[in-house]
């Protein structure tokens, strides 16, 4: 029992602190809400410490095989904690200016994080589903945080209806897999599918529904419709949250289900992922060109990027999985920095949502223009930024498995993508500013956002540590 609890210590810590902040929120006057903020940050920091200090070599299964504590889970949990912490820092001024800086925001964010962490450490379809629902329900509520405005409510409604549909599909698929193999346990299912036991037709049907559910959560074409609306409608800090840490959880989900439990069905899901990847890369990048809102543009950019990530994943070997993981991590932190700059430019009554709001940023502030330049070139995959090595790794994985044509399609899609990222650079550097308000942000936020942006360059010049970490984490967790 003690070993069981030890394995889920980080989740317990987050749950306990979420509950604590919820209760404490009752007694903290709105004027001193910063206490909740710092409590949440302290909880995140403490949980990071717990994750690091309880990390051990090897895999531990707990609660009768319901959860697993392995290095993959530890690494992803740590990165998700960092991403959520960044989100709270970047979003603080925005939330304060709009009266959203309330206790429930922190509680919901922590619950969403709890859901992600449960997904990352799941060893059974039930645990996976449980984590997914904790995450999704918290996110639905967070998107609707600004409940008196029309756009967030609409976005939350769309997100909820489509999300519920996807969850239903996923559950339907899981039930078929259960019917064919007689188990929810990912390892048992893996044994059954690898050993060619169970009804293959039933398994194939189940797989289709499961892949659909995963595709929805990743937001890849043709299950992408919710992404632009939710990104656009949600308050920007929540958009940042939706666009970053849950991608890590979705990666863990994809990996544990497809590369773990359904490894025996590799040739079936490989074909599906090729279609999803190809459609996402091309459509995501093409439609992004037409956007005039930064948030919508970044939404389509997410779709395209998840397509790229799948290109690495569908190589279906350690090389491919580690490339996909590296891609996801690189994307999460690039995306966090991009929304961080959008949040920095926004202020009371001004969203900085139109791409024209970036006009002449180099005149207003050369430093933030430079940070955004790094982010944009990283997203475009231009060296020496981190994003280049991410694209490079997934291309290598695809070519390695003989998908040269898919790699060529991918690079052509990223050429299209370069166009709209360059347009932001063009607005910042080549145009004259229309908005001359000074950029105000707390010093701490500035320092963190600068570090985040510069990390894209530094990790681009020295990518080995992060790349190596992804390989080691996956190899240690037997993928």
């Amino acid at each position: 029992m003690r070993a069981d609890l030890y394995a889920v210590l980080p989740e317990i810590a987050i749950l306990a602190s979420a509950s604590l902040i919820l209760i404490a929120g009752l007694f903290i006057p709105q004027a001193r809400r910063a206490i909740s903020f710092w409590l949440a940050q302290a909880a995140l920091l403490a949980t990071m410490w717990i994750v690091v200090s309880t990390a051990q070599v090897g895999t531990v299964r707990a609660f009768h095989g319901m959860v697993v504590d392995d290095m993959l889970g530890d690494v992803l949990k740590l990165l998700a904690l960092v991403a959520v912490s960044l989100m709270l820092f970047y979003g603080r001024a925005y939330l304060e200016a709009r009266g959203l800086f309330r206790g429930e925001a922190f509680v919901l964010v922590l619950f969403a994080l709890l859901g992600m962490m449960v997904m990352m450490g799941a060893a059974s379809f039930l645990t996976l589903y449980l984590g997914l629902e904790i995450l999704s329900l918290s996110l639905y509520a967070l998107v609707a945080l600004q409940r008196d405005a029309a756009a967030p409510a609409e976005a939350a409604m769309k997100y909820f209806v489509l999300g519920a549909l996807a969850s239903g599909m996923l559950l339907y698929g899981v039930s078929m897999v259960y019917g064919a193999t007689g188990s929810f346990d990912l390892d048992r299912v893996a044994e059954a599918t690898l050993g060619s036991q169970g009804n293959r037709t039933l398994l194939a049907f189940g797989l289709v529904f499961i892949v659909s559910g995963i595709a929805f959560k990743l937001g890849v074409v043709p299950y992408h419709m919710w992404v632009p609306d939710v990104y656009h409608g949600a308050p920007t800090p929540i958009t940042l949250l939706v666009g970053t840490a849950p991608k890590l959880a979705a990666f863990a989900f994809t990996l544990r289900v497809l590369a773990g439990a359904l490894k025996g069905m590799e040739f079936d899901w490989q074909g599906m992922l090729i279609v999803l990847s190809l459609l996402s890369m091309t459509l995501g990048n093409l439609i992004a060109i037409a956007q005039t809102s930064v948030k919508r543009m970044l939404a389509y950019s997410t779709i395209a990027n998840m397509g790229f990530m799948l290109m690495g994943f569908l190589a279906a070997d350690l090389n491919g999985y580690s490339a996909a993981m590296f891609y996801t991590v690189a994307y999460v932190f690039t995306s966090a920095a991009s929304f961080g700059v959008v949040l920095l430019l926004s202020r009371e009554g001004f969203e900085a949502d139109a791409i024209d709001d970036f006009k002449g940023l180099n005149r207003r502030s050369p430093w933030w223009a430079f940070i955004m330049l790094l982010v944009m070139f990283s997203l475009a995959g231009v060296p020496p930024m981190l994003g280049f090595y991410a694209k490079f790794a997934v291309l290598e994985a695809a070519v390695n498995q003989g998908f040269v044509w898919l790699a060529v399609a991918g690079v052509l899609a990223s050429l299209v993508g370069a166009f709209y990222y360059l347009r932001i650079v063009k607005l910042m550097y080549f145009d004259e500013p229309t908005d001359r308000e000074p950029i105000v942000a707390p010093g701490g936020t500035r320092a963190i956002l600068s570090a985040n942006g510069l990390a894209l360059l530094v990790l681009g010049i020295l990518p080995q540590p992060l790349m190596g970490l992804c390989v080691v984490a996956l190899a240690q967790s037997q993928f």
């Binding site: 180099n362 050369p366 330049l373 070139f377 231009v382 060296p383 020496p384 280049f388 090595y389 490079f392 790794a393 291309l395 290598e396 070519v399 390695n400 040269v404 790699a407 060529v408 690079v411 052509l412 990223s414 050429l415 370069a418 166009f419 360059l422 650079v425 063009k426 550097y429 080549f430 990518p463 080995q464 790349m467 190596g468 390989v471």
Partner: protein, 490 residues
């Protein structure tokens, strides 16, 4: 021995960052002086590369090798041979010119301007010395970022269009090359160029890789018909940008042919040589005629660059020492001459703010010293003996005649065409009566401009009169390269 190649890369880059850090909006002179010091230091550290170069050896020299990304077996592997060493010198020399040329002319965002050129200079040196595929690609692509900003921020009226066209065109080619790199990595399990030289490849594979490499480098050279970005980029770029584009970045494309295409894909190169030679001749002749009808001086020089670079690719695909050496000499000579021509146009543009030939006439009456310098450069551009322009063209024509008389004949038309478009432009701009009051009020060269042009003029004359030091350096490496290309990799 000091790591001269690393110094050649990182001294300018660090100097560029230093310029950015110390910048003050009210006092640009500090940025200028730091930039000049950085450019001079960058040039000085490349001098040992020439003086300590062993001309008797075709092997890589000044090699530095350290592990960089073990995950993909990528190494920080630098080295130069007789082919690449001269381009590093040329690049570092040009950077000094560019910083100097932009001294008073650039008034807005001086620190960013200087920093962009210095950082680009370091990246270009990296591309010329990288002996690892990924390392090369990183330098090759990263230099697009400063060039994009240079054209877009300090360029002419259509700068946004030109910058975007430049970036996307080059990116298209290089992305396909990245796939080719990854493919070669999967075959050889290494990104080392030397491993790629050795690996046997079947002919269909060589063809496919040829297409990818060819697109990347042909866009950069640029060869007809993918040249259309160059006139736009040149016309809109500030003088310094045009100088670096013409003198250096075009050379990286041509360098890619000898560093990648010929040695990695020798069979495809031989099979497709007729194709490349045809494109080269179209560039030489057709683009020569196009240059003839230009009314914009910068556009005329841009087209003349394309025509001259056609000579370079022609020389490479004749597969004879004479041809390859002629092409390499032509590359270096063109580096000096095109830089000088763009500097001359810059001198006029700074005074009159027009690049139209029709706006000028009779400049010799008010700017006699300038007219003398431009005369020399125009002659060099036309390939007159005793200037650097003659040596390369003559060697390539000689090599072409040895292959086929009519091939040499077609190539030799450049001597006529080059003289026609350059001298005709010179006549319209410089000679005649003073065309308008603007020309009448022109002031002759300032001391800065005089010495700037004098330095380049000395280089042009020296290379024309005594090309041996240049040819000696490359001779052994070229012989080795051709011996390698002659062996089949099937």
């Amino acid at each position: 021995m000091l790591p001269y190649l690393s110094l050649a890369i990182w001294v300018p880059i660090l100097a560029g960052l230093a310029v950015l850090v110390v910048h003050r909006d009210d006092d640009a002179s500090r940025a200028r002086w730091i930039a000049l010091a950085g450019a001079l230091a960058g040039f000085l550290v490349t001098l040992p590369l020439y003086f300590h170069f062993d001309v008797a050896s075709g092997a890589l020299q000044f090699v530095e090798r350290g592990e960089w990304i073990p995950r993909f077996d990528v190494w920080y592997h630098l080295g130069v041979d007789g082919i690449s060493v001269l381009f590093i010198l040329l690049n570092s020399f040009t950077t000094v010119l560019v910083v100097w040329a932009g001294w008073e002319v650039i008034e807005s965002r001086v620190s960013q301007y200087m920093a962009a050129f210095l950082i680009m200079s370091g990246l270009i040196n990296g591309a010329f010395s990288a002996m690892d595929g990924v390392l090369f690609y990183v330098f090759f692509e990263a230099m697009l970022i400063p060039m994009y900003l240079i054209i877009g921020i300090w360029g002419g009226p259509r700068r946004v269009y030109a910058a975007l066209k430049f970036f996307l065109y080059t990116l298209l080619g290089s992305l396909l090359m990245l796939v080719a790199f990854v493919y070669l990595y999967n075959v050889t399990e290494s990104f080392a160029l030397q491993d790629w030289y050795r690996v046997p490849l079947s002919l269909p594979v060589q063809y496919a890789l040829f297409v990818a490499f060819f697109l990347a480098f042909a866009v950069k050279v640029p060869m007809w018909p993918v040249h259309t970005w160059l006139p736009d980029a040149h016309v809109e770029a500030p003088t310094g940008g045009s100088v670096v584009l013409a003198a250096i970045t075009l050379k990286i494309g041509a360098y890619g042919f000898v560093r990648f295409i010929l040695p990695i894909l020798p069979d495809a190169s031989r099979e497709l040589s007729a194709f490349v030679i045809t494109l080269s001749l179209i560039a030489v002749i057709y683009i020569g005629f196009v240059a003839l009808v230009q009314s914009d001086m910068k556009k005329l020089i841009a087209y003349s660059s394309i025509s001259h670079m056609g000579f370079v690719t022609l020389g490479f695909f004749l597969f004879s020492p004479l041809g390859v050496e002629g092409a390499l000499v032509q590359m270096i000579s063109h580096g000096f001459v095109s830089a000088a021509m763009f500097l001359c146009v810059g001198v006029l543009y700074d005074r009159m703010h027009s690049r139209q030939i029709a706006d000028y006439g009779g400049v010799v009456n008010t700017m006699p010293r300038f007219a003398a310098f431009m005369m020399l450069f125009a002659m060099a551009n036309a390939g007159l003996p005793a200037t650097s322009g003659f040596v390369g063209e003559f060697l390539v024509i000689l090599a072409a005649v040895k292959v086929n008389f009519w091939l040499g004949f077609a190539a030799a038309t450049t001597l006529v065409l080059g003289a026609a478009y350059t001298l005709w432009m010179y006549k319209r701009v410089i000679f005649g009566a003073v065309a308008n009051p603007g020309v009448g009020a022109l002031a002759d060269l300032s001391r800065r401009e005089f010495w700037l042009l004098a330095v380049v003029a000395a280089a042009v004359l020296a290379m024309g009169l005594w090309p041996k030091p240049f040819v000696d350096v490359m001779h052994v490496s070229v012989t080795d390269l051709l011996a390698h290309v002659a062996r089949s990799k099937l």
